[in-house]
């Protein structure tokens, strides 16, 4: 993963180009990638990349970063080269003190590598001081002033602080590496074009033997493979230089060809500390940046959701279509009666047994010339018989808690042909002392009203 793909994916995720169903279908098409979220996201990006408007912000930004980095690289190479030329400047009057050059190719790189390492450890913090003091960070700030960076679409880009930190760390290592190449180029150029008398000089009380040990320590990485690039004790003794007298020592002039031998050591030091080690740091920073990009993308809400959509089964248990809207059957007219008489021509019990009818007639205080059970478990022939026997004023007792069915309505219609008046009496359960609930009575009232039959009455 690189910055460009990170930005493209980020831009695409914000556009939600596919539905949950399409994303799941994509996940099922690539079952092997299920445990490789980044790979899965990339494949998904490849499929939907055409959705992005050209030129994409990701392309613009990465090209901007590339341009700025290239300009900065050229600049630091030139600075490195001229710094090297300056450090190796030899007038013929005074030898070149290798300590300065060593400082630039060994000590400064070691120090900055240590700082870079520390900033890598702290890169997850948004406010990372070590990142903010990096030259790359400030060079970037200056580059932001350029008209290129002021474009409206470029300003839209918001980089995750974690990615931003790693980007600065990575670029710092690249720039330092290029700077070191400038130093190496200067060294090679100077060695080829001039005869430089290298020497070492220090105010400190250091014996040649001690300095030899020190040089040997610096050369630990190559002393066994390239022994000629490690100065001998004799060379160190010969190349010690004191500025007193403002003249080059006669002893040094005698061994002029020997003094030039230092360049091999300086070149190896530069190559090892400033080039190889720095390149190692650059690679480390690149790995860190790649991991930061991955971490950043995987912590985005939209990416997490997309991965869920791709990898989790799409389960639905609801109905596809909407239900036909309920037709309210409240029209119609129904006559109501509040008080029952004591005597009726007949009592019919819908879904009541004969015994139950007798009990409930007693309970509600009515008498009739006949009582018959209808509905319920009775056959249709039974019901027809009951209808045939009916006449005059009939009571039809019903279980209020049961809903009216069309079977009941058919019966009432048939009864209406025979009787003069039908009083439907909704009753509650024996536990409720046969008192029906009002909402249940209303349900029956609505149904009976639909009959629009003047003979049908409801006891309320």
């Amino acid at each position: 993963m690189n910055l460009r793909s990170y930005l493209l994916l980020d831009e695409l995720l914000k556009k939600h180009p596919a539905t949950h169903k399409e994303n799941r279908a994509f996940g099922l098409e690539h079952p092997l990638e299920q445990n490789r979220p980044i790979r899965q996201l990339f494949l998904w990006m490849e499929k939907h990349i055409s959705v992005l408007r050209q030129p994409c912000i990701g392309d613009l930004f990465s090209s901007y970063v590339y341009t700025v980095t290239l300009i900065l690289c050229i600049l630091v190479f030139i600075i490195g080269f001229f710094s090297g030329i300056g450090l190796l400047g030899y007038s013929g009057q005074e030898p070149v003190n290798i300590i300065y050059f060593l400082a630039m190719v060994v000590f400064v790189p070691l120090l900055t590598i240590a700082l870079a390492f520390l900033s890598m450890l702290k890169a997850h913090k948004a406010q990372n001081l070590l990142v903010h003091i990096s030259p790359a960070f400030w060079m970037e700030k200056i580059a932001e002033r350029l008209s290129y960076a002021k474009r409206a679409d470029m300003k839209k880009i918001k980089i995750d602080p974690l990615v931003g930190n790693w980007l600065v760390i990575e670029r710092s290592q690249l720039l330092a590496w290029v700077f070191s190449w400038g130093l190496v180029a200067a060294l090679l150029g100077a060695v080829i074009t001039k005869d430089i008398a290298f020497a070492w000089s220090t105010t400190l009380k250091v014996s040649p033997e001690e300095f030899y040990d020190f040089v040997n320590m610096i050369a630990f990485a190559w002393r066994d493979f390239v022994p000629e690039a490690v100065p001998s004790l004799e060379l160190i003794e010969q190349s010690r230089y004191f500025r007193l007298g403002e003249k080059v020592d006669a002893r040094m002039i005698r061994h002029a060809s020997m003094l030039g031998e230092w360049w091999k050591f300086l070149l190896c030091s530069a190559l090892f500390y400033a080039i190889i080690l720095r390149f190692g740091m650059f690679l480390l920073a690149k790995i860190g940046l790649r991991r930061a990009l991955k971490k950043s993308i995987l912590s985005q809400k939209s990416a997490v959701r997309l991965l869920h959509e791709m990898n989790e089964p799409l389960i639905a248990s609801t109905a596809d279509g909407a239900e036909d809207s309920l037709v309210k059957t409240t029209q119609g007219h129904l006559q109501e009666i509040k008080k029952l008489n004591t005597l009726y021509d007949g009592v019919l019990g819908w879904s009541y047994s004969k015994e139950e009818i007798a009990v409930l007639s007693d309970a509600i205080g009515i008498a009739a010339s006949f009582m018959l059970s209808v509905g319920g478990n009775n056959s249709l022939a039974n019901d027809a018989y009951a209808v045939s026997r009916s006449y005059g004023e009939m009571l039809l007792c019903i279980k209020a808690w049961e809903p009216p069915t069309m079977d009941f309505i058919d019966f009432v219609q048939a009864l209406s042909q025979q009787a003069d008046k039908i009083i439907v009496v909704p009753l509650g359960t024996p536990q409720e002392a046969y008192q029906p609930r009002s909402n249940a009575v209303q349900v029956w009232a609505r149904k009976l009203a639909l009959l629009q039959d003047d003979k049908v009455w409801l006891k309320i």
């Binding site: 799409l314 389960i315 248990s317 609801t318 509905g375 079977d407 349900v443 149904k447």
Partner: protein, 465 residues
């Protein structure tokens, strides 16, 4: 007949809760449910679909209207037991266009196409012989069947219903769609799996998917709550000033703006959770599931969901001591454990002084530029527990409420809820993350993930998963 996946037709007398059972099992609150008989006009299919594959299908059907007429028609064709199914089929052919038997055709069709029968009866009403015609017709279809006793009201006639239903059905279960937990749903699915040998394996797979589905909903709920917490606690409100100094009204205004944003975030999060659990009807109602008369910043909310001052001081002191102990450890104990002691004092003191305070109002801006007031992030250390408690309670209610429920739901609770999920160790762990969210630094994605896991665990405990 199509045996590609198990099918079940939920049938019965009108108004006995068939649609409620289907709504509850399918987690679909779009089903029309009312106390008026005949609400369901046409059969409706509710498939459980996983990745485009139907695992099983439920049918909601209209109730029997002329059962005795159908049975008489069948009995007229006096046939041997092996021909009874054909007789029912003949009835369907003969009455396809007959309006009088529209409901019977609608309910018998899926059964004759191979659906298992789930006969629903209301166990809160006395048993009546008028049901026998329906049960007899279902017996004629020859399809595997079971009965569910639904309890619509308080009265209990379950035993007499059981005795009657056992005469007709292989299996009789009591299932109340209004109160059934997720475990009860799964148990019912397991019973349905036993109706036919061929259905056992696909239904077991369905149960697995259903569990996964439930887990997905829980995870999304935890995500939503964690997001609410992180956003609310880190929120910063700004108000540009007209003058160089802030007037008291402006301070009051920014505080109100701040509170409103937090209330809106809570409301938005509640809506999301209701959507995750397919409770669309709760969303349609204005202020549907809000805590009535219990504002987020009210004392009542604080007393029910928040910590007591003592609990908060102990939590703050422990949190501070842990941080201080880290310093002691770093210095190999050379601090004589002073780090831990100082941390405890600072943590306890900040909890004590921050008990009532909401958030600091700062006057910010350049000397020459415009000045503005800023409030936030949240400083009150009790507020995160109040917000979290309310979110958890809301989520628990939404996750547990039946999809068959149509009445307005009220959120009423007491302190017992807090004790149900919060113990000392949870309080301390949550406190640590709340402090992180309350700091002005960018919230680490890893922290949110860990917090989400904690919320998921608590949710599972609350919902008894």
């Amino acid at each position: 007949m199509n045996f590609s996946h198990p099918k079940f037709a939920v049938v019965g007398h009108p108004n006995k809760g068939k649609s409620s059972i289907v709504a509850s099992l399918a987690l679909d609150d779009s089903v029309q449910i009312s106390d008026t008989p005949g609400t369901t006009l046409k059969k409706r299919s509710f498939p459980l679909v996983a990745d485009g594959k139907i695992l099983y299908e439920l049918y909601d059907t209209p109730g029997f209207q002329r059962a005795r007429h159908v049975l008489e028609w069948l009995k007229k064709h006096d046939v041997s037991a092996d021909k009874k199914q054909e007789a029912v089929q003949s009835f369907l052919y003969a009455h396809q266009e007959d309006e009088r038997f529209r409901d019977e055709i609608e309910l018998l069709e899926p059964i004759m196409e191979g659906a298992g029968i789930i006969y629903v009866a209301d166990g809160s009403k006395p048993y009546s012989q008028e049901y026998e015609a329906e049960m007899e017709i279902l017996r004629w279809t020859g399809q595997p069947s079971m009965a569910l006793i639904n309890l619509i009201d308080q009265a209990d006639y379950v035993q007499e219903w059981k005795r009657a239903l056992e005469q007709y059905f292989k299996m009789v279960r009591v299932f109340n769609p209004m109160t059934a937990t997720f475990k009860k749903h799964l148990q019912l699915l397991e019973s349905m799996a036993q109706l036919k040998e061929e259905w056992t394996a696909p239904m077991k797979i369905s149960i697995k998917y259903f569990e996964q589905y439930h887990e997905q909903m829980l995870c999304r709920t935890a995500e939503t709550i964690a997001q609410l917490m992180a956003e609310s606690l880190a929120h910063v409100e700004r108000l540009t000033l007209k003058d160089k100094e802030a007037a008291a009204t402006e301070e009051k205004k920014i505080e109100e703006m701040y509170k409103k944003t937090l209330r809106d975030l809570e409301y938005k999060s509640q809506k999301n959770i209701e959507k995750i659990w397919h409770h669309g009807h709760l969303q349609k109602e204005e202020k549907s599931l809000a805590f009535e008369n219990m504002d987020l910043f009210s004392k009542q909310s604080a007393s029910i969901f928040g910590l007591t001052q003592k609990e908060l001081i102990v939590t703050g002191a422990t949190g501070g001591a842990i941080t201080g102990a880290g310093v002691d450890l770093l210095l190999a104990g050379h601090t004589l454990l002073l780090g831990g002691a100082i941390g405890a004092v600072i943590g306890g003191a900040s909890a004590y002084f921050g008990f009532e305070k909401l958030a600091k109002i700062n006057l910010l801006g350049q000397k020459l530029g415009q000045k503005y007031l800023q409030i936030g992030p949240m400083e009150n250390q009790n507020f995160p527990f109040i917000l979290l408690g309310r979110a958890l309670y809301h989520a628990q209610t939404v996750a547990s409420v039946s999809h068959a429920r149509r009445e307005k739901l009220k959120l009423e609770t007491n302190q017992a809820f807090k004790n149900q999920w919060m113990d000392e160790s949870k309080r301390k762990s949550l406190y640590r993350y709340h402090k992180k969210f309350q700091s002005e630094a960018k919230i680490d994605a890893e922290d949110i993930k860990t917090y989400e896991k904690m919320i998921l665990e608590i949710l599972k405990k609350c919902i008894n998963v």
